[in-house]
Amino acid sequence: MIDMKKSKDRKIIFLRLFFLVVGALLVVAGVVNGGYTEVLNKAIRICYECIGIG
């Protein structure tokens, strides 16, 4: 029982680390390939759809 719990905990820790690394890599890749600029360009202009006009 304790071994099963330990194995489950280990699996969760592995998944957390995996997704943290993947998330960080995606953010870095996004900044490099213009994703950040794209978000910035959208956010500094009024989004007419968001406010219910366009």
């Binding site: 998330g23 959208k42 989004c47 006009i53």
Partner: protein
């Protein structure tokens, strides 16, 4: 309200203020254009709000899908993944202005509608909203479906504040604006009677964060050695949880003080 609740309420208020601290934008109806606008905040907060100093992750996600240039924005996807894995639905309980507004509305002294099978079934509706309005419509029709037709944050924070302050925008108001105001009114009125109705049944951002419920780092946990299975935590919870910390749990911590054996605590 105990100290723990006060701390949570304070966190919600501080977050709402931090997300929207460009106060000088409100009188003139002008939005902030600094570099921080490229950074996504964890909660639902419209980037067209004159006060907003950050981006809405959901708006950015739809915008990237709708854009013909970058179909796949790694940056937004990475941010959503990081928020999901670190915070999960703690964002809903602590860091979302829309959640705060709904909780305050629920405090109005009226008759309340309790959870039941109906609400448990409706809680799956937000995944449909996610699939149709956040993914399918932006991808196929090149329009941010959720922002355009549903988002109450956009109407309240962006639509109303901008059209009140900006005469040129007021002149452009039409049928879509009327529709969005109607949706906003329904959401706000329902929040008076049904606890966090928007979060439970409609919010696609909550739906995204709920996918991480098994592995998110922050949140509440149950010490199974102490738990006696009385189910008091689930019965007293206003959300449609089946157990503490499941996909519907916003980790508000209300159940911590109610557990007779002190088996619930925040993860450390």
């Amino acid at each position: 309200m105990n100290i723990k609740d006060r701390k949570r309420r304070l966190t919600q208020l501080v977050c709402a203020l931090l997300y929207n601290c460009n106060f000088k934008g409100f009188p003139g109806g002008r939005i902030y254009q600094g570099k921080t606008k490229g950074v996504c905040v964890p909660g639902l907060n419209c980037y067209s709000c004159p006060g907003a100093v950050g981006s809405c992750p959901l708006g950015s996600f739809q915008s990237a899908l709708a854009s013909s240039k970058y179909r796949f924005n790694y940056y937004v996807l990475g941010i959503l993944l990081l928020f999901g894995i670190i915070l999960g639905r703690v964002v809903c309980g602590f860091l979302c202005p829309v959640g705060l507004i709904q909780e305050l509305l629920y405090k109005l002294p009226t008759k309340k509608i309790n959870k039941g099978k109906w609400s448990s079934l409706l809680s799956y509706f937000k995944y449909l909203i996610l699939a149709i309005f956040v993914i399918a419509i932006p991808y196929v029709l090149h329009a941010p479906g959720f922002c355009k037709y549903i988002c109450p944050a956009g109407t309240l924070e962006g639509g109303l504040t901008l059209t009140i302050a900006n005469e040129k925008l007021r002149a452009l108001v039409g049928g879509l604006f009327t529709w969005k105001i109607a949706v906003l009114v329904v959401i706000l009125v329902s929040a008076v009677f049904v606890f966090r109705s928007f979060c439970r049944f409609l919010c696609p951002l909550g739906a995204i964060y709920s996918l991480f419920y098994k592995i998110s780092i922050c949140g509440v946990k149950v010490d199974e050695d102490k738990c006696v299975g009385c189910n008091k935590c689930v019965c007293e919870c206003l959300m449609d949880v089946k157990y503490v910390g499941d996909r519907e749990c916003v980790h508000c911590g209300e159940c911590i003080g109610k557990c007779p054996t002190c088996a619930i605590s925040y993860k450390k």
